[in-house]
């Protein structure tokens, strides 16, 4: 990006007030909570359009892992690459969507640390509408990331027995979980000092959780201590629930566990986010 100098354009009307400087007419009524949220949703979509590389930076990893594990190790692990793909893809899908979730925290942190949150707070709008509107951006990011991994999987030969309904159910559950987890990211985003700190904390938490799970191999072949970790790892439970939906034999227990986690995350972190954001910095 080149920055432009102010002196570049001559200013014949030096001492005039900028044209159209002051508004004509009375100040309009401020927007209601819904209208304000929609405006912030529009902002979130614009940001995705202008900075799409953010998403691709993050989901490059699950995409590379899908390709590498399937073609390099798939045959050795499962006997055939196509069989292994059926096993790994629900897991890399989870990985992609969870990694992209970090941007919920990075976004809110950028807003509060650059001062634009100040302007939002100075407006007569529902205080949490910036956060609520950002959720629309989150949903879009999750769908984009998930859609890319699924498209890649389908091209490689991912044909789960659950068919399209199974995959849609899986995507729905994953979306719900990711949105609930968004609240944890926004809370983190509000307590960390800089966007980079959110990013590094996020990756430091997510990588061990997504790698040391049942995404790539069944835990039975791992040493005991690692098995213990993998079995309590929430990502493992999420991946198991995803597989069960996509394979067409839903594991009710695992799904209920994921739904319970969604409730827990939302109940704890949504009010925390509201409180931290409302309080200001």
């Amino acid at each position: 990006m080149t920055s432009m100098t102010d002196a570049a354009i001559p200013t014949p009307k030096a001492a005039q007030s900028p044209r159209g400087g002051l508004p004509a007419g009375p100040r309009p009524q401020p927007p209601g909570p819904l209208a304000a949220t929609v405006a912030f949703g529009w902002r979130a979509l614009l940001k995705i359009r202008h900075v799409p590389e953010q998403i691709f930076d993050v989901i490059a990893i699950p995409i590379v892992f899908t390709l590498m594990f399937t073609y390099l190790l798939g045959g050795a692990i499962s006997g055939s690459t196509s069989q292994y793909l059926q096993f790994i893809l629900p897991g890399t899908l989870v990985m992609a969507v969870l990694l992209v979730g970090m941007y919920a925290g990075i976004g809110i942190n950028t807003d509060t640390s650059t001062g634009i949150a100040d302007r939002f707070r100075s407006l007569p709008i529902w205080r949490l509408s910036p956060v609520a509107g950002a959720l629309l951006g989150d949903v879009t990011r999750y769908l984009l990331a998930g859609g890319l991994v699924l498209a890649l999987g389908t091209a490689m030969g991912f044909r789960p027995p659950g068919g399209v309904p199974g995959v849609l159910a899986g995507v729905g559950l994953l979306l719900l979980f990711a949105l609930s987890l968004s609240w944890a990211w926004t809370t983190l985003g509000l307590v960390m000092r800089a966007p980079q700190a959110v990013m590094s904390t996020g990756t430091a938490v997510l990588f061990p959780l997504t790698l040391a799970s049942n995404t790539f191999v069944v835990p039975q072949t791992m040493p005991g201590w690692l098995q213990a970790f993998v079995n309590v790892n929430p990502v493992s439970h999420l991946v198991t629930a995803e597989r069960s939906l996509m394979y067409g034999h839903p594991a009710t227990g695992q799904i209920l566990l994921v739904l319970a986690a969604c409730v827990l995350l939302t109940v704890v972190f949504a009010p925390l986010t509201a409180r931290l954001y409302g309080r200001g910095h």
């Binding site: 159209g20 100040r27 309009p28 302007r119 707070r121 100075s122």
Partner: protein, 332 residues
């Protein structure tokens, strides 16, 4: 336009951040329809004061009413009537200039179409048309500042908070902002602006409060403020340093103040007392230089200027003695 005769009524505002006290008991009264200047160096507490008055920050102690509404209990009523241009230019780097204005327009209650129209108007008015569809992250500091100001004038406000609106602008654009501030006042609005520049406050504000270390150290119309600390510095360089004593005797009587001992024996420096019943400061300075000429003491050059902001602060905070004989740079 407003029922209260005062747009800002703050008393005893205190704000601490950890162990630093940003505001230490600030009182402010701003009459409706006037331009009021908050003057102070970096870190004096100007921005903290503005943030409290604009409902962004709760004070630890003290109360503030804006246009008759309490900033805590009736924050929303305040927000419906004020506009803020922040010091940390409060625009979204990822969005384009036009998108930024349209977003703030929507949030201020303009319809989709009205927001678009008004955004285009302001982009033209602030000479940002060419950059309208570029992301703000590529803007220069001055462009960003102008976009931020434009965002503050999307809809009408009864009170505008402008936090250092001209910092980083070139002189022509600074003059435009000055014209904008005057237009706001002519429209019946109140403007509270912060600045580091004495001359800016002098040109625009009807009254000034000087803030230092979180306290108001002086308050009043600019002229009164300046005369209270002396009109300016007179500096005379003699051709022959040996004539210094004679020169000091003649000149100090006319100036009405003693000269300060300096490192260069050829240079005489003094602070001329401000305009008062006994005369005008500039006349005194001119008379002193003329008298030296009449007495046959050759003057190599001389200068007389308004007190700098440094002088104002050093004087107001009682540190007059620290720069008696040192150049300004050394005293900073």
């Amino acid at each position: 336009m407003t029922s209260s005769p005062y747009s800002v009524e703050a008393s005893g505002l205190v704000k601490r951040f950890g162990s630093t006290t940003a505001l230490d008991g600030v009182d402010l009264i701003v009459e409706a329809g006037t331009v009021y200047g908050l003057l102070g160096p970096n870190g004096a507490g100007k921005t903290t004061a503005v943030r409290i008055l604009a409902t962004l920050l709760a004070p630890d102690a003290g109360t503030a009413r804006i246009l008759g509404h309490d900033v805590i209990a009736e924050a929303d009523a305040v927000r419906r009537r004020v506009a803020l241009a922040g010091q940390a230019a409060t625009v979204d780097n990822d969005l384009t200039g036009s998108e930024n204005l349209r977003l703030i327009g929507l949030l201020a209650g303009l319809g989709r179409r009205a927001a678009r129209t008004r955004a285009a108007q302001l982009l033209a008015g602030f000479e940002l048309e060419d950059a309208a569809s570029r992301q703000v992250k590529g803007y220069s500091g001055g462009m960003r500042r102008r976009l931020d100001l434009a965002a503050s004038t999307l809809v009408r406000a009864d009170l505008y908070f402008l936090d250092e609106p001209t910092t980083g602008l070139d002189p022509a654009r600074r003059a435009q902002v000055h014209a904008l501030v005057r237009a706001m006042a002519a429209d019946g609005a109140t403007v509270l602006l912060t600045t580091q520049y004495l001359e800016e406050a002098d040109q625009l504000a009807g009254r000034i409060a000087v803030i230092d270390h979180g306290k108001v150290v002086a308050e009043g119309p600019p002229a009164q403020l300046k005369s209270s600390i002396g009109a300016g510095t007179l500096q005379i360089r003699l051709a022959d340093p040996a004539r210094r004593l004679d020169a000091e005797q003649i000149a100090s009587r006319l100036v009405g103040a003693p000269f300060k001992p300096g490192s260069d024996p050829a240079v005489l420096t003094t602070t001329v007392p401000g305009d008062d019943a006994t005369g005008v400061a500039a006349d005194r300075a001119a008379a002193a230089v003329a008298a030296l000429y009449s007495a046959g003491i050759a003057v190599e050059d001389f200068s007389f200027g308004q007190p700098s902001l440094d002088e104002v602060f050093l004087r107001l905070t009682g540190q007059t003695n620290t720069f008696n004989d040192t150049p300004m740079e050394a005293a900073r």
